[in-house]
């Protein structure tokens, strides 16, 4: 018998042949006893590979894994909340600073922010006060931030 299909038989047993190859194998096996025997042997191997003895993950391993993932998710949620809280606080602080600047300037005698009037001493002092405050807060945040990421919190 010529044209044996031995090369295709392992993949036939693995269900990995395309339609043309499957047809070629089927046509040959009907007429070749040797290849038919080998095909049966490969089917046995394939079935055996799907039923190899295998243990399952222990309950302790599954419990440890679930616990580790829960801790990870909780920390990630906390970090996300911290980032949102920090963003809100920064936006709120800037809004408050700008608004209070305008209010104080009005109370102190006119809107200094108008372009046709010079900035008065009250506004200048207030600007210096705000900038100093932000600078101090920035330095403090930078120091705290060097430790915080590993702990999953702001500071």
């Amino acid at each position: 018998m010529s044209g044996h299909v031995s090369e295709l038989l392992p993949l036939a047993a693995a269900g990995a042949l395309d339609a043309r190859e499957q047809a070629q194998v089927a046509a040959h096996l009907g007429a070749c006893e040797a290849c038919a025997r080998e095909a049966a042997a490969w089917r046995d191997v394939a079935a055996g590979l799907g039923q190899l003895p295998a243990s399952r993950p222990s309950r302790a391993l599954v419990a440890r894994t679930v616990e580790a993932v829960e801790v990870f998710l909780a920390e990630r949620a906390e970090r996300a909340w911290n980032r949102a809280a920090l963003g809100f606080l920064i936006a709120f602080a800037w809004t408050l600073a700008v608004l209070s600047w305008v209010v104080i300037d009005l109370v102190a005698g006119g809107l200094a922010l108008r372009l046709d009037r010079p900035v008065g001493p009250t506004a200048a002092w207030y600007a210096a006060y705000v900038l100093t405050g932000w600078l101090a807060a920035g330095v403090a945040t930078a120091f705290a931030g060097r430790r915080a990421p590993q702990e999953g919190r702001i500071a």
Binding site: L11, A14, V45, L49, P53, A54, P57, V66, V69, E70
Partner: protein
């Protein structure tokens, strides 16, 4: 509706019930695959835990239009191969020291129950290179079809097919060497 997609969506929202569902459906075949690939139970346990942690961390990158299984096995194989490369000086494509028989354990009763023939097959598989064990486990134990197998291995389908053929071809002489004449052939 695919329960994997539902559970993946829940996990993406931080709901641990989503994780429970995914683990329940995939933990056994994932562990079996890791045992087969690493040939070492403590390493398989370590990678098993790391895999689920990475699933939780990267679930946002999972494309819900595709099946979850291949994505999970891709995460697991990358972690396992990283670990194996750290401890194996030789290529993962070469058979080194035979991997410990996995899944049978030391229990004599379990060994007896496993059956001699199945045991011989497991031993023959354990003597293959890690990359051969990997492709056989993914196809026959995890039951991934060829396109999913290729996706998991990160190679084109013809390459996955060639790797599957090579693994089976390498298995054959190992079976013939240890099996009685009437078996396998």
């Amino acid at each position: 509706m695919d329960p994997d997609r539902d559970d993946a969506a829940r996990l993406r929202r931080g709901d641990t019930d989503g994780l429970a569902g995914l683990m329940q459906r995939h933990q056994d075949r994932l562990f079996r695959f890791l045992l087969r690939l690493t040939g070492d139970e403590p390493m398989a346990e370590d990678v098993f835990q790391q895999t689920w942690l990475q699933v939780a961390e990267r679930i946002g990158r999972y494309d819900a239009a595709r099946p979850f299984g291949p994505w999970l096995f891709t995460v697991a194989r990358n972690l396992a191969l990283d670990q194996l490369r750290r401890i194996r000086p030789q290529s993962l494509d070469e058979a080194g020291e035979p991997a410990a028989p996995t899944g049978i354990g030391d229990d004599p009763l379990a060994r007896a129950m496993a059956g001699q023939r199945s045991s011989r097959l497991a031993d023959a598989v354990a003597r293959l290179a890690p990359l051969d064990r990997e492709v056989l486990s993914l196809r026959f134990e995890a039951e991934l079809e060829l396109p999913q197998l290729a996706e998991t291995l990160g190679v084109p389908v013809p390459t996955a097919k060639a790797r599957l053929y090579r693994a089976l071809a390498r298995l054959r002489p190992r079976l013939l060497a240890h099996a009685p004449q009437e078996e396998w052939r």
